[in-house]
Structures are given as C-alpha cells and as structure tokens.
C-alpha cells in the first residue's frame, strides 16, 4: 500500500511511534500466551504487558551506587530510540517505509544491534556481579549471531540486486517466495532473531537460574520498562523484516498480520521446545553450523546470479 503519511503522524502515531509500541506490547502478549499454551499453562491476559509497563513506569527508579549515572539513565532511552528509528525503514503493517535510501538495510540492522549493545553497556556499567556476567554473555552472543543473521538477510538482497528494504519488499512480492529459494537463510534469520532478542533457548545472557536477570539485574522502574518496550518493538521489526524478505513481502495490513503471526507462532514453538543453551553452546552453534551454512548459501546465490545469464540461453529461456 503506497499511502504516505504526514511525517509527524508517521513518527508519533502511525505506523511508527505509539502504534508501533502498542503493537510491540501486543506481540509480546501473543508470544507469552502462545508459549504458555504450548507449556499447558493458562498464560497472561491481553493487557498484561501494558499493565507491566505502566506498573514499571510508576515505580521508583533506583540508581545503584558505583554507576555512571548519565549512562545508566540514557542507555534505556538510546536502546528504545534505536529500535523506534529502525522502524522508519521497514514496511510496517504493509505500508511503504517512511524513509528509504539505497543501503538502508545495513543501517536498520545496525540500529537493531544497538539494543544488545546498550544492554551490554548497561550491564558493564554497574558493579553487580550478575550484571557483569550477563553483559559478557550478551556481548558474546552478539558476536555469534550477528554475522550469520546479517548474511541471512543479505541473501534476498543480493538476488534482487538492491539493499533497500522497501525495494526488497516490493521485489519479494513478485516471484517465488524466498523461503522456498533460500530455506537455509530463512531458518538462520529466524533463529538469529531469537538470539538477538534473547528468547529461549538463547536466553543465557539473562538466565534467571544462574545470573538473576543478567545485565538488567540492577534496572528497575522506568529504565527496565524502556528496555522491555524496546525489545518488544524490536521483535515486531525483526518479524516484519523476515516476513517481508522470506515470506513474499506484503502490500496490505492483512498480509502483514498473518505472515508475522505465523512467524511468531513458529518462534513460540521453538521457544518451548528446547532447553537453554549454555553460552559456549550458543557460540558453537552459530560459528560451527549457522555461519557455515549461511556462507554456503551465499556462495551458491552469488554463483547463481553470475551463472544465470550464461546458462539461460543454453536452456532456451
């Protein structure tokens, strides 16, 4: 859908801004509810993420001793801002991206990484031992999933010859879905997103039975609420990216809805299927199999794009 919203509307209300935050909270609800149902639990009510958010905002924010106060306060804001900014370049709800330029895919991916970076810094900023271990793990995890995740999203970009998210989305709409053409890339991208959001089984950085809440142990009140909201927004954006790249893109909100919900269903199922991976197992998984698989696919794609013009005349195409 090629509706262009006035810039303030797009930034503050729809499709970015408030509406995006609301859909982030809603996505969190669906995720939690699905995981709960898979685990044979009742699960939360629909307003639970919002209630949590409001409750956290209303609570006192405790700034522990020994931290850099400015950093402590600013990091959650930066994390949320980065996630919200990333939303400008993706085709949210099936609408045309608010901003776009050639190469915005790379910028978006960097903005999405800001969250993990902020969490890592937030953990390293405090003196708490659980936070320090959590921060180390969060950053270790960043280095393991980031490269395969990036390469997995580059697959469709290389085939379509553009690094502009809007154009990739448009390109994906016509022709065969990339999930069929590049199944490895799809799997790596989806699992990479779970690693990025520290969802189980990649929740070693915040494994509650070991290090309480990981890097965010010292956060309470507003800062914690913003981090949580940022992560929800990032979940929406991540699902949007993968759905638009691999599930044939979308042109209207309905298309967007069923494709992202389908992806969410799959991630929720994956979340409830496995035991938590240790951080060394996570790194091993990404660098031993994820990276090699996605590189292999990339080589095939590049060879394919070069060889296709040569082969096509021979096939009489």
């Amino acid at each position: 859908m090629n509706i262009t919203f006035p810039i303030y509307v797009a930034l503050l209300f729809f499709p970015g801004g408030l509406f995006l935050m609301a859909s982030g909270l809603f996505t969190e609800y669906i995720d939690r509810k699905l995981v709960a149902r898979f685990q044979n639990r009742v699960g939360p009510r629909w307003f639970q993420p919002l209630a949590d958010f409001v409750k956290l905002l209303a609570k006192e924010e405790i700034i522990p001793t020994g931290v850099n106060k400015a950093l402590f306060v600013l990091l959650p804001i930066i994390a949320l801002t980065a996630a919200l900014t990333a939303a400008l370049y993706v085709p949210l709800f099936g609408f045309k991206p608010v901003y776009s330029f050639s190469g915005d895919l790379v910028v978006t991916l960097y903005l999405l990484s800001m969250m993990t970076l902020c969490i890592g810094l937030a953990g390293a900023n405090t003196e708490d031992r659980f936070s320090l271990v959590g921060a180390t793990r969060a950053l270790t995890q960043l280095f393991s999933y980031e490269a395969p995740f990036l390469l997995a999203l580059l697959g469709p970009a290389i085939v379509l010859g553009t690094w502009n998210i809007g154009e990739i989305n448009a390109g994906a709409t016509s022709g065969t879905w990339f999930i069929v053409l590049q199944p490895i890339g799809f799997i790596v991208a989806l699992i990479g997103l779970m690693g990025k959001l520290e969802l189980p089984p990649f929740d070693a950085p915040e494994a509650e039975t070991e290090i309480v809440a990981g890097a965010l142990t010292e956060y309470s009140g507003r800062g914690f609420a913003l981090f949580k909201l940022g992560r929800d927004v990032e979940l929406v954006i991540g699902l949007t990216l993968i759905a638009s790249f691999y599930l044939g893109g979308f042109t209207n909100p309905l298309d967007f809805l069923w494709k992202t919900l389908l992806l969410l269903f799959v991630t929720a199922a994956l979340q409830s299927l496995f035991a938590r991976l240790r951080i060394d197992q996570t790194v091993g998984l990404w660098w031993r199999s994820g990276m090699i698989l996605v590189l292999l696919q990339l080589v095939v794609i590049i060879l394919g794009t070069y060889l296709a013009p040569l082969v096509r005349p021979l096939l009489g195409g």
Partner: protein
Amino acid sequence: MTSPVSPEKFIVPIGPQHPALKEPGHFEFTVDGEIVTNASARLGFVHRGMEKGTESRTWVQGLYLMERVCGICSHVHAMAFALGVEKLAGVQAPPRAQAIRVLIGELERIHSHLLWLGVAAHEGGFDTLFMFSWRDRETVMELLETISGNRVNYSANVLGGVKIDIDDKQKDALLKGMDFLEERTRHYLKVVTEDETFLGRTRNVGKMTYEEADTLGAIGPTGRASGIQRDVRVNSPYAGYPDFPVKLVTATAGDLEARFVVRIEELFESYRLVREIVEKLPPGDLAARVPRRIPEGETISRVEAPRGELFYFMKSNGSDMPERIKVRTPSLCNWASVLVTAVGHKLADMPMILAGIDPCFSCNDRIVTVTDHASSNQMSWESLRQYGIEYYK
C-alpha cells in the same frame, strides 16, 4: 564445608535469596570467566530447632512435629519416627499398617521425583518439561489427597500403625493414576535420554565416579547414579518392604543424565510397587497399642527417603517425652559431592549440578556451629539482645 577463597577473585554469590533457589542457602562460586574454580556452601539459614523441640513434647506430639521437618518427604520422617518408637516400645505394627506405610511412602517418592524432574529441568532452562511434569504430578497429589485428606503432610502414621485405610474405590483410583503416570513417565524418560539440547546440558556434566561418590559419602539416587549399591529398602527392609521387595536401580555414568535416568527408573519401580500393594493389601488391624511412656533405651531408625537414607537416633529415658532425637537428612550427605563436582564446570551448569542432588535445605539445617573458638565469653539474654540490635544497626 567452607573453603577459604582469596578476596581478589571474582566470586558469584548464589543465595540466600536467588531465583534458582526455592529455599535459602548460600553458595559462592569463584569463577575464571565462565569456569568455576572453587565452590563453597553455607547452610543454616532456616534452622528451626526441631530436634530440641521434640524434647519438650510427648512422643505422640513429636510424631506430628517430625512430620513437618520436610515439606516434600513428610511421610518418611513420620514413618522413621514411628518405626523407631515402636522398636523402643517393643510393639510391632500390623501387616496392613506396614503395607499402607509403604504405599504412601512410594506415592510420596513418585511426587518427590516428579517434582525434582520439573525443578531440575527448570534450572536448565527447559520450562516446558517443568510445566508438564508438574501438571502430571498433580495426579499423585490428588491421589494422596483422596487417601489421606491432605496434599502435603498426610499424617498417615500413628505410633503403632496408621490411621487411614484404603477402600476399593481408592484402589481403583490408584491403579488408574499409576497407569496414567507410567505412560507419561515413559515419555519423560524418552525426553531426558533423547532430546539433544537437554543432553547437551546433562551428559558428562557433574560427573562423579564410583570412587568419588564412595569417598564423599553420596547417598540416595545421587550415589546410585554413580553405581553405589545402597538403598535402605533393599539393604535392610523396614515396614512393609520385606513383603513387597523393591529392585535396586543403579547407573554407572555418574553424570546428571544418569541421575535423571535413575530417578525416572525408580518411578517405574514405585508404580509397580503401588500396584502390587493395592492388589495384595493384607487384611487386619490398622494399629497396635503403644504405651504412653516409652521404656528406657536408645535405637536408630533408618528409612529410604526420596533423596536417600534418612537416619533417626532416638533415646528414651522412660518418660513420655524423648530424651534426645537426632535426625540426619539425606541432603546433608550429598553437599560435599556438589562442591567437589562443581569445580571445572561452567557457571551455567551450577544450577543443574546443585539441583542434581535434589537438595532440600530446610530439613538439613540442623546444626549451628560457632566458629569463633578464641573467645568463650558467655552472654546473658539481655546482652545477646543488645548485641543483636547493635549488629543490625
């Protein structure tokens, strides 16, 4: 049990309040990156003075107090106490009572092992298994409630026998419940031995050889997973176990996976035993008469709790109150194995290694050690109170 650690090391404290621990205990893991290089434990946060408490209660009241030593294995405590008192008094409980004691003891083992399966899975971040095993555990909890009226402290024992009987309707419910649980447990055995991610967290983790387990005095399923052939139910059968023998379940690997397998195999043995008792429940009285004053003497009473050997020492001075009751719960014997096996593992493995012995903190907090040997000044109640106020100021 505490070993000295130099202050410049990076120590990760777990407890007394920590999401991994449902009861208070304090552990300090010295880590080098993610690798644990030293581990120490401090217990005693929930010392309740129950042994002393029995000395000012009658034998009958003591039974109810001792049942509350542990919330999970309440029946074995009452059974150990009742068996000891009966031995002192020279009374033999009727066969039907002994069989019902075993029946409830096995139901309790089922509920305890299923609970542990869930907790251990949760410590490894496998919440789905946690939720499912606890859902199925409700079956046995409801059976216990149908039989005794209570979910936790069944209060089935009296001195000289039991106070509850099993009727035909309850027998049917028991058989049906065992069928359901057996089917579910088969599935869980498959999960813990075949699920790749879970095996990644359990196989070769927390490995304890037979020699180590023997030296450290590991007991119960923890020891049996390392090949230690020790089970009070088999070695010196008590209550109804001479009539309803159990098979000793052991494994040789000694890692966490073996501990899972041993406990799950024990579940099958318990299901079989419950069915057998239900079918061949001997007829007769439920309780024999026990005198109010217990003859002078001392005895020990040993039973197999879900976590291992539970040991009671009892001394009577001929009055209606005990002279001394000493309880040693199985968790206490297994702590050393945790602290030794922890070294060299990753920090992420600590919760599972801790949970691997199925620790029960409240029941093993029994001793208060005074480490300050140098000064031996006595404090009056008033000065102790003042000291407390000053200390926490």
